[in-house]
């Protein structure tokens, strides 16, 4: 089921699924987190977001206990991208409401689909970069490392197509992107 969701295409030109962007960057900067991301990607976006936001706060009996210091990059990327995507979507919703029923249908339909990031303007990219650093700081990531992560994300988002690896939804194996750790950002959904 999860694989289906990952490769589901969105009929919007130039959009990338968040999970694919995250996988691409993580494969590059923190490949050891790929099993974790795999585990996460077994759930839909809503569940993943809830889990990431909640963190691991459950004081389960007979666990080792809370208070670990692991700073994973995956949640930072995901949360920053999600925020950006949501803002972009909000803007789209404003437009959609103006466009009437057709727009509403599109919104309702989209809710069940994987969240995607549209092509970003330079301002939006700058905003995304700042957000990664913010979220990183909240998660205990030091500033230089956060900046490196943000840069990696932004670079991967703006690189010309020629530099992108042959990896994308068209191949239908986005779920196994971790296998080729050097892989690039998938083709945008068409």
């Amino acid at each position: 089921m999860t694989n289906d969701m990952e490769i589901r295409q969105v009929n919007t030109e130039g959009r990338y699924q968040i999970r694919n962007i995250v996988r691409y960057v993580i494969a590059d900067v923190a490949p050891e987190e790929l099993p974790y991301l795999d585990g996460l990607c077994r759930f839909d976006d809503k569940t993943i977001l809830r889990r990431l936001k909640r963190g691991d706060r459950s004081d389960e009996p007979l666990g080792f206990g809370l208070g670990d210091l692991v700073t994973l990059l995956t949640p930072i990327l995901w949360l920053a991208l999600e925020e950006t995507a949501r803002r972009a979507a909000d803007a789209a919703v404003d437009g959609a409401v103006r466009q009437g029923k057709a727009g509403l249908r599109r919104i309702f339909k989209r809710r069940k689909e994987p969240m995607t990031v549209p092509p970003l303007t330079p301002e939006q990219l700058a905003d995304l970069r700042r957000r990664v650093i913010e979220v990183g700081a909240r998660h205990g990531l030091e500033l230089p490392a956060a900046e490196r992560l943000a840069d990696a994300l932004v670079v991967r988002l703006v690189l010309p197509d020629g530099d992108r690896p042959a990896f994308g939804p068209a191949r239908g194996d986005a779920g196994q992107a971790g296998d080729d750790a050097t892989g690039g950002l998938p083709e945008p959904h068409v």
């Binding site: 974790y36 691991d56 007979l62 666990g63 208070g67 210091l69």
Partner: protein, 955 residues
């Protein structure tokens, strides 16, 4: 949580590191207590759910005043109509359907809990949530490492390892059921394995330790039972209680409102208690798992890093501490500190002790409700007391012994156990107040201060246990220390059993003011055979008498009182250990042996010398008093002389013991409580036995001959009475010694805390050795022998007043109750069967009327069979009413009684006339029914209604 040790090696403990398993932890017992509490509460609450009813309708119908009445009048009212009361309780108890429903719900609870225990691991380990470890371990190295860790932990059977998808925290959790344990590793932990392999190993080892220590099954058993309890018992119980509250008739509101409110409170208290107790016991289990993980090769760095991140507790300390109470894990600071110094596992903490006290009392009350026996003070032999005492000993006694052993081994200050006991007592008292047992229909029992008795008694037991444990631990050198503490714990069990037995019998009496009741009726309970009247008794003496008398009323308490001084005496007789006992070396694992081991601990020679001298002096005093009575004969009759000599014996024994105990408590530097008890007990025995023989042989010495007539060993009732009183005085002496010497010793204990204890000087061991054992042996043999002999005589003789004779109280005059209580009584009488009787009579009367021929309707003829049936019914009902409660209103009762007599006679006439065939008289008998009903029964009903209205109006 003061200083944060960043490096475990820097946080060197004050003493050597003690093996945490030197003694049983008692945590399993705390789990068991929780399970039993939930089952007991289920049994109790389900009774209410299926409508067994816990209201006191029958008691009110019997004319008792549970709202304003004092103990003696309530008991008198209940005993006055005891047969009707029992019949009422039986009639309004659960029917067969209720019994089946009750049993069914209880079985459902057990089955559901068992199923949940089985299903919970399946749910937690469902495929959508976790994946098998093979899925993330393509190279197989993870599985190899896990297998190595399982081997390191020494587990016979490896658990199943799974990975919890998408969980970022470097954490793992264990769950499962017996034989099928699952360790779920968070994704985050697996990710971190490459960067922090030692942290990974540590966390997995910690989880394996949980399995090895048997934490999983019992922890999840409490979880499963709790969840089912909430759904099957607690929620229906709440609904039922609220329903009762909402549908309460106004005339019952005043009495039932406190009852229902407390039921709600009990539910809330249960939730708090279960959560707190479970979190508390899990926290100790975490530290055990930490220590095992470390021992199997865990890395202290794992804890150190988390502890550093936790930081120091700041301003929110109070809130953080409160929040910590509900957490299933201790703070990281504490966990780190415990790695090098597991003092937390040995500390005496207030919370678990308080919870154990409350839970124990709830179990006692809920599993073995005493019903009417609660009021009558009648002994009920159930397993409740020994079982509850065993639980308390397993939790509190073990905790005290552990703490003392640790303190001795690490040369720290030995805990007094006093504060622990106060917490335990507070738990017992709070448990008592949460139930409806004492306050019944009131918001609080009339004398809540009586609960202080149980608080102080519990404090005395734990204080005594701590001091005795220290004595025995420092003396013990044979095999495991568990064996040594067993002796103390067995004694503690006896003391707890006596405490619970005594309190279970007399709590209601105390809380209803019996202690403070110096009325004739109350005094009569004790002194009915002494020939004295209340005016001759000093009121304060009555209070002392009531307490002593109630404690000395059963062999259990009498044995406990002997144990109070004999166990410390034997501990002293053992003498301090010479050399280093094997168990000390094992517990310390080669660390430096503490100074307390091998050093002389307590010197009882001087206290025992004082006891002997004072005891012998008491013989002199007694002889002089007897001689003076013989010479001057200030008292007239022989019986009075016997009485005076009896009182004199008792007084001399008690005063001797008391003087010795107080002097010793003041003079002794350490173990004041034990020294006071031992010296007081020895003095009482020396004085008592001496006086016993003096009395027995007094006939041979003309100067002392007061009551005895010949030079032979006396026998007969008088002698039996004297011996009994002497024995009674021995018990009383010890109790009074404990009550008076304890505060003195507590004060001295406090002073000691401020000034460091002087190091005891070495005593000459060789000479003291044999003498010490001989003295202890003689005292023990004499005391145990005399106690056994007296108990045997006590039980073998003709039935005497072993227990308090409440039957004497029936004649106690009942005061006029308040309008509200009269309303309750009237309503209860009506609802518990009075209304039914009236209905039956009216119904039969109508049938009788319709069976007669009608003058205006010639077609209607006499229906003889119908009339015979109606008259028989009236006759039966009128006779049945005799065994029912009297109407709880004197004026109504007169009418009621007269009416029933008339009806019975008229019904008899009716049947006789029918037999004789003289039908002309039939109309007259039926008219007599009508007249009787109009003149007596209906006025009674009208009066009850007006009483009810008056009560409602006055609310």
């Amino acid at each position: 949580m003061s200083d944060l040790p960043l490096d475990p090696t820097a946080a060197a403990p004050a003493g050597p590191r003690v093996d945490q398993r030197v003694l049983n932890a008692g945590t399993t017992m705390r789990f068991v207590l929780l399970l039993v509490l939930m089952l007991a509460s289920s049994a109790w609450m389900l009774r209410s759910v299926v409508g067994f009813g816990t209201s006191n309708m029958c008691a009110y119908a019997a004319g008792a005043d549970l709202l304003d009445g004092d103990y003696v009048t309530i008991v008198a009212a209940l005993l006055d109509q005891y047969d009707a009361l029992q019949a009422c309780e039986a009639r309004h108890g659960p029917g067969a359907l209720g019994q089946w429903l009750y049993a069914g719900m209880f079985l459902l609870l057990l089955a559901a809990a068992g199923t949940l225990l089985w299903v919970l691991p399946l749910w937690k380990g469902r495929p959508g949530r976790v994946v098998p470890v093979e899925m993330v371990d393509s190279r197989g190295d993870l599985r190899a490492e896990l297998a190595a860790l399982v081997a390191a932990a020494g587990l016979a059977r490896a658990p199943r390892f799974v990975v919890a998808s998408g969980k970022a925290g470097a954490n793992a959790v264990t769950f499962g059921r017996p034989g099928r344990y699952i360790i779920s590793l968070n994704d985050g932990l697996v990710v971190r394995r490459a960067a922090d392999p030692r942290g990974f190993r540590t966390i997995v080892l910690h989880e394996l330790a949980h399995i090895r220590n048997g934490d999983v099954t019992i922890a999840y058993a409490t979880v499963a039972l709790w969840r089912v309890f909430v759904v099957v018992v607690l929620l229906p119980y709440l609904v039922r209680t609220v329903e009762i509250l909402v549908r309460l008739p106004p005339e019952l509101r005043r009495g039932e409102l406190p009852l229902a409110t407390r039921n709600l409170l009990l539910a809330a208290f249960m939730v708090v208690l279960v959560y707190l107790a479970r979190a508390d016991v899990l926290r100790s289990r975490e530290i055990y798992a930490d220590l095992d993980a470390l021992a199997w090769g865990g890395d202290a760095e794992t804890w150190r890093r988390r502890s550093a991140a936790e930081g120091r507790p700041g301003r929110v300390q109070a809130f953080a501490r409160f929040a910590r109470l509900w957490s299933t894990h201790p703070s990281w600071n504490l966990r780190l500190r415990s790695l090098t110094d597991p003092a937390a596992l040995f500390d005496l903490q207030a919370l678990p002790v308080f919870l154990a006290g409350a839970a124990t009392w709830l179990i006692m009350h809920q599993l073995f409700p005493r019903g009417l026996a609660q009021w009558s003070g009648k002994q009920i032999d159930t397993l409740a007391t020994p079982v509850a005492a065993a639980v308390l000993t397993g939790i509190v006694g073990v905790a005290v012994c552990r703490s003392v052993t640790h303190a001795v081994l690490t040369s720290r200050r030995v805990p007094s156990g006093l504060r622990t006991g106060l917490w335990l007592g507070a738990g017992l008292a709070v448990g008592e107040l949460t139930t409806n047992r004492l306050a019944v229909n009131q918001w609080a029992p009339p004398h809540p201060e009586a609960l202080l008795l149980v608080v102080f008694a519990a404090a005395l037991v734990t204080w005594w246990t701590a001091q005795c444990a220290e004595l025995w631990v420092r003396a013990w050198r044979w095999g495991s220390i568990r064996l040594g503490t067993m002796v103390v714990l067995a004694a503690t069990w006896l003391l707890f059993a006596a405490l619970l037995h005594w309190w279970n019998l007399f709590d209601t009496a105390y809380a209803y003011g019996w202690l403070f009741d110096t009325s004739d009726a109350a005094v009569q309970l004790f002194l009915s055979r002494s020939g004295m009247t209340a005016s001759e008794i000093v009121p304060a003496v009555v209070t002392a008498f009531v307490v002593v008398g109630s404690v000395a009323s059963s062999p259990l308490e009498v044995s406990a009182v002997s144990v109070l001084w004999l166990v410390p005496l034997l501990g002293w007789a053992l003498g301090p250990a010479r050399g280093v006992p094997g168990w000390v070396s094992r517990a310390l694992k080669g660390a430096r042996v503490p100074t307390m081991i091998g050093a002389p601990h307590v010197d009882l020679r001087r206290p025992l010398l004082i006891s002997a001298l004072t005891g012998v002096c008491s013989w002199g005093v007694f002889t002089a008093a007897m001689a003076s009575m013989h010479l001057w004969s200030p008292i007239g009759g022989a019986s009075q002389r016997v009485l005076v000599s009896m009182v004199l014996c008792a007084l001399i024994v008690v005063v001797t013991a008391l003087v010795v105990a107080v002097v010793v408590a003041v003079l002794t530097e350490r173990y004041q409580l034990l020294a006071a008890l031992v010296s007081g007990g020895a003095a009482a025995v020396i004085a008592g036995v001496g006086i016993f023989f003096l009395l027995g042989t007094s006939g041979c010495v003309p100067l002392l001959r007061t009551s005895a007539v010949s030079c032979s060993w006396p026998s007969g009732t008088a002698w039996r009475g004297v011996s009994f009183l002497l024995f009674y005085a021995l018990v009383a002496a010890l109790l009074i010694v404990a009550a008076v010497a304890a505060p003195v010793a507590a004060l001295r204990e406090r002073c000691r805390r401020e000034a460091p204890a002087p190091v005891p000087t070495a005593v000459s061991r060789v000479r003291g050795f044999d003498a010490r054992r001989v003295v202890a042996a003689v005292l023990t043999v004499v005391s145990v022998g005399s106690t056994t002999a007296f108990l045997a005589v006590w039980h073998s003789g003709p039935p005497s007043r072993r227990h308090l004779e409440f039957a004497d109280l029936v004649s106690v005059r009942q005061p006029t109750p308040s309008p509200q209580v009269r309303t309750l009584q009237a309503a209860a009488w009506f609802h518990s069967g009075g209304g039914e009787l009236v209905d039956d009579i009216l119904d039969a009367y109508q049938r009788a009327g319709s069976a007669l021929p009608e003058a205006t309707d010639p077609s209607r003829r006499l229906d003889e069979a119908r009339l015979r049936g109606a008259c028989t019914d009236i006759h039966t009902t009128a006779r049945r009413s005799d065994t029912f409660f009297r109407v709880p209103d004197r004026q109504s009762q007169e009418l009621w009684s007269r009416g029933l007599d008339r009806l019975e006679k008229a019904a008899g006439d009716c049947l006789r006339v029918l037999d004789e065939g003289d039908h002309t008289l039939l109309v007259r008998t039926v008219n007599e029914f009508s007249a009787t009903i109009n003149e007596t029964l209906l006025p009674v009903m009208r009066r009850l209604i007006s009483i009810t209205r008056a009560g409602i109006a006055s609310q």
